[in-house]
């Protein structure tokens, strides 16, 4: 967490771009999620709400609609495997299986050391280059099960 500027000021700078400040709720939730270690604890909704003059309940209701906001703790890193049909037709399940084996967790779970959360995700838009895997939101294309150990090592070393 940076001590440089108050969170509310940073949020209000973003909100100034929009005709109505409520439009900044998604960017603000993203900023809050980054400050809170990748997820949104209850106090995050209070902070965002105070900055944008919204209730915490409203902020949580919005956050809960979107897949990229996490309402429970996640690992320091996210590994997300697309299992929609285009990747699926080309072996996405074997890639997901390989990550499960390598990390020792099921989709939706976090490794015991708190480092990595594994998720299956819906189409992230790289269908021509299956399987698509997002590593902290940066996409890796053409991933096969044989690539998985090296990817996990890379994510762990990325710290």
């Amino acid at each position: 967490m940076t001590a440089s500027r108050p969170f509310a000021d940073e949020v209000r700078d973003v909100a100034d771009q929009y005709p109505e400040s409520r439009s900044a709720v998604l960017p603000a939730l993203r900023m809050a999620q980054e400050r809170h270690g990748g997820w949104l604890p209850p106090e995050a909704f209070v902070e965002v709400g105070e900055a944008l003059d919204l209730t915490p309940a409203y902020c949580k209701a919005v956050a809960s609609f979107y897949d990229m906001f996490h309402l429970a703790p996640v690992g320091k890193h996210l590994i997300e495997v697309c299992t929609n049909i285009c990747c699926g037709l080309r072996g996405a399940q074997s890639v997901l299986d390989a990550f499960e084996a390598e990390l020792g967790v099921m989709p939706g779970e976090t490794t015991r050391d708190g480092e990595i959360t594994l998720r299956a995700v819906e189409c992230i838009g790289g269908c021509g280059w299956p399987t698509v895997v997002a590593l902290d939101d940066y996409h890796r294309l053409n991933v096969g099960p044989e690539d998985v150990p090296a990817i996990v090592q890379e994510v762990r070393d990325g710290e």
Partner: protein, 446 residues
């Protein structure tokens, strides 16, 4: 294979130059059309787009010029007018806007600014899906460069990141989301042209559509209209080719190329000489086609005649190893996951579809339930606030109708006839993930 693949329009120059850089884009003639457009009357720009018959590339195929003409003059509705660029590309099978933003971001920006001039707007929002982080960064950099060079005039462009919701690619869901709400579909009318963003007149167009605008002006509407399959399907599309092909990827081609040419020409055919089983012509929401239909040109009228659509030009190739019940189940699971929940036919119908398809796949359904599945699809189709319900019902119904024998075999044999060997066997869907909770250990805030 067809001889000349035809002209490249949207990605023009991107193979030879790094068009993400403003200097290179300008050296290639970039932003010249913006300058020209600003010297034109807005009505003349709209006329040029109508002459070109430029249609929306996001899936709905609506004429762009007409959409602009729906925006009332400011004297009539004295509010700011907005331009929203829909960069929330989320339809499974579609990944073209991603390449446009990666390789020709300035062409998108130039198109946005021309569109803004055409409807007398000073406010552009680009709504980009949250999952496109790299594309967001490229676009942000291009915007910074363009802004610093003073190209925007009195127009502000705000780049807005989504946060993971397919429905925000639907125009009213996008507007709700951009207003800081849950991205749930709006009831229409009023349409966005009258009451869109912040209840003001709003033009919403897809990335590819907007990025085509500068080239339409450059070529002239009449010349552009000669490309592709006129009079209805003019110009090029970025065909997104995926599934069981040797070389998947985006191919920019004039509309009218046949499915066969795309699969067996450009994409190198199906690996290991396997047989084609089916093709989805426009993204996962579109009714499926069978191998006897692949000589169909990829253009609006020809596909309409086969009761399907070009959609977002996403060609998904399915080979003989895929179980069609599993394909239908996975498609239904996706739309169930992405249903915004606002209207009943979609919210309940997609769940019901998943339940029936699970039973069929498990060999626990009766023949009556195949009819029930079609009935459920019928009760969704055309009865929802937005096209998401249709997006689930149309493809699944087409699988049942066109592969009825395969569905029947599941019932008759009391099991999947693929015996665990389908290419989609056991495919995990994120909708089943929500019951899992992360293991909370030390180092992770609880």
């Amino acid at each position: 294979m067809a001889s000349d693949p035809g002209p490249i329009v949207v990605l023009d120059g991107a193979d030879d130059h790094d068009l993400t850089k403003l200097s290179e884009y300008q050296a290639a003639g970039g932003y010249a059309q913006l300058e020209r457009a600003r010297a034109m009357e807005p009505g003349a720009i709209v006329e040029e787009l109508n002459t070109a018959n430029l249609r929306g590339r996001g899936g709905a195929f609506f004429p762009v010029g007409r959409k602009m003409q729906f925006i009332p003059p400011k004297e009539q509705i004295p509010k700011p007018h907005y331009v929203c660029v829909n960069a929330d590309e989320s339809e499974p099978g579609t990944f073209k806007d991603r390449e446009i933003m990666q390789r020709v971001p300035h062409r998108l920006i130039e198109g946005s600014l021309i569109a803004a001039h055409a409807i007398d707007s000073q406010h552009v929002f680009i709504y980009i899906r949250g999952e496109y982080l790299r594309e967001f960064e490229i676009l942000r950099e291009a915007l910074d460069e363009g802004r610093a060079a003073g190209l925007f005039g009195d127009v502000t462009i705000v780049l807005h990141r989504g946060a993971g919701a397919y429905i925000c690619g639907e125009e009213s869901g996008l507007l709700e989301s951009l207003e800081g709400k849950r991205g749930q579909a709006r009831s229409r009318p009023p349409f966005p042209a009258i009451s869109g963003l912040y209840a003001s007149p709003t033009l919403i167009n897809n990335v590819e559509t907007v990025a085509t605008i500068p080239k339409v002006l450059e070529l002239g509407g009449a010349e552009y209209a000669k490309l592709g399959a006129p009079p209805e399907s003019t110009g090029t599309r970025l065909f997104c080719v995926s599934g069981n092909v040797v070389k998947g990827g985006n191919y920019e081609l004039p509309m009218g190329i046949t499915i066969r040419e795309v699969i067996y020409g450009l994409a190198g055919g199906i690996p290991e000489g396997r047989e084609l089983k089916a093709v989805i012509p426009g993204g996962s929401s579109m009714p499926i086609l069978t191998p006897d239909q692949i000589d169909t040109p990829l253009e609006h009228d020809a596909l309409r005649a086969l009761d399907t659509f070009l959609g977002a030009a996403a060609v998904i190739v399915v080979d003989e190893r895929a179980c069609m019940v599993q394909l239908g189940l996975r498609v239904a699971q996706f739309y169930m996951h992405e249903s915004c929940g606002k209207c009943t036919p979609c919210r309940e119908g997609t769940r019901w579809m998943v339940q029936i398809l699970e039973a069929v796949e498990a060999g626990q359904a009766s023949h009556d339930e195949l009819d029930l599945l079609l009935d459920v699809c019928d009760r969704i189709l055309g009865k929802c606030l937005c096209p998401l319900g249709d997006a689930a019902a149309m493809p699944v119904a087409s699988y049942v109708v066109k592969f009825r024998d395969e569905f029947r075999r599941h019932v008759d044999e009391g099991a999947c006839p693929f015996g665990g060997e389908s290419s989609l066997e056991g495919l995990f869907a994120p909708v089943d993930q929500h019951s899992h909770h992360p293991v909370v250990e030390e180092g992770v805030p609880a």
